[in-house]
Every structure is written in structure tokens, then in C-alpha cells.
Symmetry: C2
Subunit: 187 residues, 2 copies
DNA sequence: CTCAATGTAAACAGATCGGTTTACTTTTAA
DNA sequence: TTAAAAGTAAACCGATCTGTTTACATTGAG
């Protein structure tokens, strides 16, 4: 097995464990056991637990960018409808139980207040995500797409967090009703 | 010192520690040492660490309800302006560095996916908070205050989380601009 | 004054934490 | 074939985790 594959294997297992059980609550021993590797190997690929988590956030971002745009374009062939489709996309994942909240938000809050690689990685993700929303707004032909994107991301984060906390996709409906107004005004 | 005072002392110290350093990252030993009590005393007042955290969420809610309405009424003598004043109230705390995110959201996310007293307590807080927003909407004379409150809380949570993650009050401005539209439409 | 309640300090339990290191085996590529 | 690279298992480090228990001191109300 090549280096890259081994590393990817660690990432895949660690990603699921941290996502499901939290960051401080999941020890590196669990990651080792789950992946089936020794501690030495783990620390050959990652300098520290926090560095591993930072890389996982990058992995989360890449996964999002490689799946969301395709699915969103499928949901709305019309570019103008894709901002709304972003919300439908996430809501659908909540409905089917495959969305467990935003990995980057969860990581950021759990390491909140400190300066760690985790903070840097999550801030980078937020920037990437905001840029994606900006592109959706611009391509949709909306006025002042940068300002609109800033409003949309707040709405989106609120829906994600509330859905995760309440284990219900209902907050997405409230968010979508606000978004509809926002989009109508920016048409 | 009476029972109630002793318990309150534990709560006060534990509240600060968990707020600043996170829940799993803060051990009960730290709470003991900081409060200046023995482990036996701690476990006399609280059955477990998770029960302690659940009570802290209740404490967070009480603290909010005993301070926010007063300050918000001061910020906006006109009831119609108090929904917006809620956002100004929190934004001001971010500006002065005294707001560290929502205690209940942080706790809920860190214990996400499991069924603990922490979940129950945070859900109860969200309900209390939503009811407060509903009362602000109703007293402000807005149409369909229950629906409006559901939209407002999503917006609010999004601003809180984004501010905490980015350590900037800027998301509150985006949220406020959306809220202004929302309130205008519900006038 | 006395006795029960409340507190303390500290040992103990068994487990886990992140991280390093040693000794040995397997794989892989020249 | 051989030597380097990469892997393993496991001991070790010092610290921490939640929670229980024991033995003793303080306190306060009747």
C-alpha cells in the first residue's frame, strides 16, 4: 500500500470517529485501533492529534466541494435557483440522517478560544465555503453577490446548528422562507 | 456557608471553566481545585459531571433571562425595536469581548449525537429562548409572531456561531441587515 | 454539650490521555 | 540479493480522567 493510500485510510477512519463522537472524546488510541495501525505509523503521517484534525477539516471541505456543486446543479438546472438548492441539499441530508452537522463548526467550537491548527483550518474552510456561495450568488444574477453571500452564510449556519442541536430539519424551512425574501429583493 | 451558597459557588467556578476551556477538556479536578473543595463535596451536590453541565446550562438560561430583557428594554424603549435590540445586545458583548458564544450550543454540539442530561438541558434552553423571542415579536406588534420568531432564532444562532468561530462581530451586521427586511415585511 | 451534618485530604480504582521509543518484522525497489 | 523504508507490537512516559471510599476534622443547631 502506498503512502498516500495509507494516509487516506487513516483520514477516513479518523473522520468518522471524530464526527460521530467528538474531538476530545475520541482518543488517538481509538483511531489506531479502528484503522488497524500502530501508534508509530499514525505519528509518522501526522505530527499531532490537532494536526490530524486540521487535515480532516481540509478533507471535509474537499468532500463538500467535490459533491455539493454537482448535486446542486442537478437540483436546479437554473443557476438562479441554486442558492436555494444549497439549502435543499443539506436539508435532504438531515432528512436521511446522513448529515451530522458541520464538521468545521463542531471542531472550531470545541477548540474555541485557543490558537491551534484546528482554528486555522476551520477558518480556511469558512472562507472557501463563503467563496462558493458568492459564486452561486453571482452566477444566479443577483445584485451585490458578495453582500448577499454574507447574509446567506449566516442563515445557513444558523439552520445547520439548530438542526444538529434539535435533530430536526425544521430550522431549514424557517431559513428557506427568509432566503426566499432575500433572493426576491436581490433579483 | 449554607448549602445553596456552596452549590452556587461550585456553579460559578465550573461555569467559567467550562465556558473558557470546553467541556471534555475541563476535568472535575480542575473544578474542585478552582472552587477549593474536595471531590466528595462536588459529588454531593452533583451526581456526575454531565449533570453538573446540565445545571450550568440552566444557570446560563437564567442569567440570560435576568439580564437581557432589562438591557434590551433600555436599548429600545419602543417594543417594536426590541427584536433588533436583541442582536445589538449580543453584538455589543462580542465587541467588548465578554461574549464567548452560546454556552448551550457549545455544550450541545460537544455532546452531539448522544442522549445525555446535557442534550435535554440545552433543548430546554432553546425552547425558553425561542419563547422569549416570540414574546418580543408579539409585543412588537409584528404579524405572525411565532413564525417570525422561528426565522429570527435561525438568524441569531447563525450570527452567534459565525462570530464565535471568526472571533469577529461582523456576522451580526449581515444578520441585522436580513432582520431589517424581515421586520419590515412583518410590520 | 452533644451529635449529626458537612466538610476536608487523600488514597484508591481502572481507564485513558497524547506522545516517544525500542526491538523486531515485513515490504519494496534497485 | 540486499538494503532501505515502512510497518508492527508493546513498553514506557507522566499526566489525567470520572468516580468511590476511608479516616478524620469542623461546625452548628437543639
Amino acid at each position: 500500500m502506498t503512502k498516500a493510500l495509507k494516509k487516506q485510510e487513516i483520514i477516513d477512519h479518523a473522520y468518522e470517529l471524530f464526527y460521530d463522537h467528538g474531538f476530545h472524546a475520541t482518543g488517538v488510541d481509538k483511531v489506531m485501533a479502528d484503522t488497524g495501525i500502530s501508534k508509530r505509523t499514525l505519528y509518522k503521517y501526522f505530527a499531532s492529534k490537532e494536526d490530524l484534525i486540521a487535515e480532516l477539516i481540509g478533507h471535509y471541505g474537499e468532500r463538500f466541494l467535490s459533491t455539493a456543486p454537482v448535486e446542486i446543479a442537478r437540483l436546479s438546472p437554473d443557476p438562479a435557483g441554486r442558492v436555494m438548492a444549497l439549502f435543499d441539499f443539506r436539508k435532504a441530508m438531515f432528512d436521511e440522517g446522513s448529515f451530522r452537522g458541520c464538521f468545521a463548526i463542531s471542531a472550531n467550537l470545541e477548540y474555541s478560544g485557543r490558537d491551534t491548527p484546528v482554528q486555522a483550518a476551520s477558518l480556511k474552510f469558512f472562507e472557501t465555503f463563503l467563496n462558493y456561495i458568492k459564486s452561486l450568488c453571482a452566477d444566479g444574477g443577483y445584485k451585490d453577490p458578495d453582500k448577499l453571500a454574507g447574509q446567506v452564510i449566516v442563515l445557513f449556519n444558523g439552520a445547520v446548528v439548530a438542526s444538529q442541536a434539535s435533530r430536526s430539519p425544521a430550522p431549514f424551512d424557517a431559513a428557506k422562507s427568509v432566503l426566499a425574501m432575500l433572493l426576491a429583493a436581490a433579483k
